[in-house]
Symmetry: C2
Subunit: 243 residues, 2 copies
Amino acid sequence: MAEPRKFRVEVCFSPEEFDLYKQEYKAVVAIDVLRATTAICTAFQHGAEKLIPVSTIEEAREYQGKGFLVGAERNGQIVEGFDFGNSPYSYMGDFVKGKTLVLSTTNGTKAINRAAKSHDVYIGALVNLDAIIKQFIDHPTDVLLLASGWQGKFNLEDSICAGAITEALINSRKYMSDEDSTIASLFLFQKARDNYFGFLKASSHRRRLRNLNLNEDIKYCLTPNQTDVIPVYREGALVNLAS
Amino acid sequence: MAEPRKFRVEVCFSPEEFDLYKQEYKAVVAIDVLRATTAICTAFQHGAEKLIPVSTIEEAREYQGKGFLVGAERNGQIVEGFDFGNSPYSYMGDFVKGKTLVLSTTNGTKAINRAAKSHDVYIGALVNLDAIIKQFIDHPTDVLLLASGWQGKFNLEDSICAGAITEALINSRKYMSDEDSTIASLFLFQKARDNYFGFLKASSHRRRLRNLNLNEDIKYCLTPNQTDVIPVYREGALVNLAS
């Protein structure tokens, strides 16, 4: 008896390359471990009802004018005039419960909005790693893991997170991969898996954040499986799939 | 006493990302292991005087009309009407000696022409690996290793070759790196170094070429240090630096 067709899981290293990959997939997992997608998971974990990802600071200001809670980050820092940036610690607390938040970040929210035009978008990070894996094993579909990168360039932490998801999906025997980017992500994950923090010591973005005294943030972002929320994009905003 | 300033060596995974990296470097090493830059090295090893890389088939046909020896490859195959593609075996023999050749390939010649507009361009491959390394240790400068990729996407073999060059330059203590793409290339090279052929078994482009019965080509392209030529771009054509 022939094996059933396997679904595809592949990794795209940067939103700049998304157009080269996007055709063949039904779903996209947007990944920005340091820190946008980690912060988004944290907001839902603490009861946020919706989160509107916006690409520009201008849009963020418009929402602010309408009374929304708005976060805005560029180059690792809170944009002047906003209450918070993309530190996950900013999204912990009762004040987010039941609220609609708005967020604009350097890389992550752009990746989300770019993919949302054409695909079902899920939010992935190390903090919700096993939840994302379980979702795609229970409901298999062709899925592209979209790393947010850094200003269009490849970054290590998102690629490693993508490699972790890939390995688990392939081990489920429901998925196959054949892109070189996916093979590279798997190798990088296998190298990093025992010590994300140590492996990423040299990474450019970790260095950037360390210079901003964000070591606590980094530790949080690199600790897997702190929540089982799965933020998904529905009609202009992210919501928690389970709610 | 302060250490002298180190030069930068970094890796760009694809010509599509070149604009994100290009500003900071004086030299670019264009790498297309399977097979354009390997074939180019082979042509110079066998005595070619010049090689004109052209981006389009139309340009290639024009040169053919003028009586040049012209190679043209798309998607791994010789383009109809041309004498050869980018198999290194096509460039071995007395017929190339003293000649000006013309070549157009899917990825490699585009990467060369793109970088040549703004940078000193060198041709790198595994077959001339140590020659390229020696050149940049003897004459250090800020250098970007530009992988040709596959139709704009990341590929393994070029990134591994770039990782091999990076490791040697950093070990010389004259160079530093800090891009994540460079760190990833180093890890992939260290994983692959003992057995390029085995490591790349799963790679997408190797599979593509194997389906075209090009296993002999692949073995040749993955065997390091078969020549010490260093093709460089000068006034519209590649020449051998040493000649």
